[in-house]
Amino acid sequence: MKKRITGRFTVILFVIGFMSATQYNTVNTDNTRDSRDTWEIRQQLSREKQLHSELLSEISLLDDTLGKYSDKATKEPEAILKETVEDLRIGAGLTQITGPGIELEISPSLEAIALGTEITEIPPDLLIRLVNEINRFDGIELAIAGERVINTTAIRDINGYTTVNTEPISTPPFTIGITAESMEEARKLSSYLTASAIHDDFYIDDLTIAISEPQEDLALPAFDEEISMEYLEAGEGE
């Protein structure tokens, strides 16, 4: 008798537990709907695919370096190390580079000159907008008024002066040099910027952008200050 009662209670408790768990599952599900249409999903997919291919190429590059290191035939690990360091220096923007590219000249608009409007500095927001617009292209390097832009470069207002790498840039006109990976890329960048809506944003501030013809050998200066690595720490080795 006692056994049977326990059996009944066990079954009932099992059912109760199951029902409670199901209820818990149902209540705690986030039912946010995916309201994107096919086009948006396709765009997301293409973004992810691009990221995927970028990661793959990075992995293959690193594998190459790793292969070189572990290659027993290489008698000079030092040379390879130096090569890697040089690559990293180039990547970080610590070397002067020369390559195909275009030059943008930021100058006061003709109307502003004709009307005698006071020429003010370019606002940092506008400059950041321009840099973001340019950065849509992969593999480009740029220098604003002789200041090389690297990953940690800050474009901001310091005491009323627009600064790049904490160096104030002169009032317009000044030039921005951009190098691309190839002449073709430089041409593409040039036509992209020519058609860009950024001109309108500049015009509001009485400024114009003149885009030069693509040049074969455009030289950009090296980043000449100490890179601030306050928050960087060496990673644990494998």
Binding site: R4, R8, I12, L13, I16, F18, T22, Y24
Partner: protein, 120 residues
């Protein structure tokens, strides 16, 4: 007793692991069913402690209460009256009463045992 708790844990883990979900519009029925089954469970425990436990009453009560509660809720939805509140109220009150009776019985037994221990 431990086997029963094991059954409860087994049910909960099975429910969580299989990740079964019911449509949200039926969630209220399920919650009422859970309440009804809890009511039956505590009723059964009370009856067992009072030595009036009957297998048939317990098992039929379990299913009948669940169906009745869900049916009442269903009817309420279609009539536009919150009838499920009646079920919640009834089951809630009975749940508290049953638990109170169980507590009293257990307390009485404990007091008796203590008395016996002192007498010895």
């Amino acid at each position: 007793m431990w086997i029963s708790i094991l059954g409860l844990l087994l049910g909960i883990s099975l429910g969580l692991l299989t990740d079964i979900q019911i449509p949200p519009e039926y969630a209220s029925y399920l919650s009422i069913a859970v309440l009804a089954s809890l009511d039956t469970l505590f009723g059964g425990i009370r009856a067992h402690l009072q030595q009036v436990y009957d297998d048939k009453v317990f098992v039929s009560g379990f299913f009948f209460n669940i169906v009745l509660a869900a049916g009442l809720a269903f009817l309420g939805v279609h009539l536009g009256v919150d009838l499920y509140l009646a079920a919640i109220f009834a089951f809630g009150v009975r749940l508290f009463q049953n638990i109170a009776v169980i507590r009293r019985i257990l307390l009485a037994r404990w007091a008796e045992k203590k008395k016996l221990g002192e007498a010895n």
